[in-house]
Symmetry: C2
Amino acid sequence: MTQSIRVAVSTVILTLRRTESGSAVLTLPLVLRTREPFAGQWALPGGWLTDTESPVDAAARTLAETTGLAPSYLEQLYAFGAVDRSPTRVVSIVYWALLRQDDVDAQSAAHRASGRAPENVRWFDVGELPQLAFDHSHIIDYALWRLRNKVGYSRVAHGFLPAEFTLADLREAYEAILGRSLDPANFRRQVDASGSLIPTDRFRTGNPRPARLYRYNTDVALADTGPLRPEETSIR
Amino acid sequence: MTQSIRVAVSTVILTLRRTESGSAVLTLPLVLRTREPFAGQWALPGGWLTDTESPVDAAARTLAETTGLAPSYLEQLYAFGAVDRSPTRVVSIVYWALLRQDDVDAQSAAHRASGRAPENVRWFDVGELPQLAFDHSHIIDYALWRLRNKVGYSRVAHGFLPAEFTLADLREAYEAILGRSLDPANFRRQVDASGSLIPTDRFRTGNPRPARLYRYNTDVALADTGPLRPEETSIR
């Protein structure tokens, strides 16, 4: 059985950026392609799967090579294999992760300090994406849909926020994800009902009044991968 | 970039079989391999992805060729790509579906009547699986975990049960999935809270008393594929 199909990997890395006006927006890193096809267009970080590595290892390697990012986990998002998604036949196994902005800053700074900082990586707000190579715009749409629909409070808190955070912090993260405002009282009720957050006895002093700090419930699995093996996930 | 990686597809088809004692058990079809590697062992239905078809089309084609089954949808389960999962390097994109036993019976009978009935297909209860080729035992474990953890009442009802069913029917299906008994009153409360079922004004007469018939709520998406394109799912 002879195939003319190659296997690639890509990663969708999402973080929350604090804008100058104080609001939070979802951003992700893209890489400017220097080769055909789609030379001069932006694409998700990624590359070819090699014969000797698992897909998730290839995703972690190509992400690090292009952006310097090294997330503590990557979750498989989907395998995209439509016949016409690339000029040649390519199946792309796509992974994703949510990262904290301070982790991104630290990893990016270390990457620059090492002298390997690529000039062709740039972070884009998801509402202001450039034209993308291949079907990567579609892949990002799917990742954002998964984020909006299937990721619970605990994972968003763990992925995007520091170890302790206020409910207003978490609500702002959700507002950035959903692209709309949420009622604070309803949001509080839903979070309480989810059991995914644990109140601490500490408060952040501030305006208009002190706000209780929460932490995520580590009993709730973050990336719920069940019996998948370590070499099939990046929870290493 | 030269790769020595081939892409295969497999399908996990689950149905509920009513045993002679009246209980329900999960079963799935396996195919006896006639060629190396793993000749003489059982494997999931599947085959190679060809250059001109999408992965889900290949999964539907190979499933029909081996078993005669033609589910109305297939959902992507996971892409398995560990380096050592096959003697040669193979990435398998696995799809799955829940089927009603009466649909399975009708499709299997039509397949037999067409003279193409394969002698090397057999249905196995998931608690009594034979030794399996490749990592297919692991793949089935993962499918069962997903079924137990992530599939709601509406989808189980739609996948396994006729258009109208009692809460006892649905509870029995869940008991088969979970492998344990459920408290009827608690189960009823959870189903009510899910909003995924709609009570009809019809009853099934019987012992000890008439039982209300329910139907699944078609407003609740069955396979929640979001912005995935038709050629990426089998919702055709």
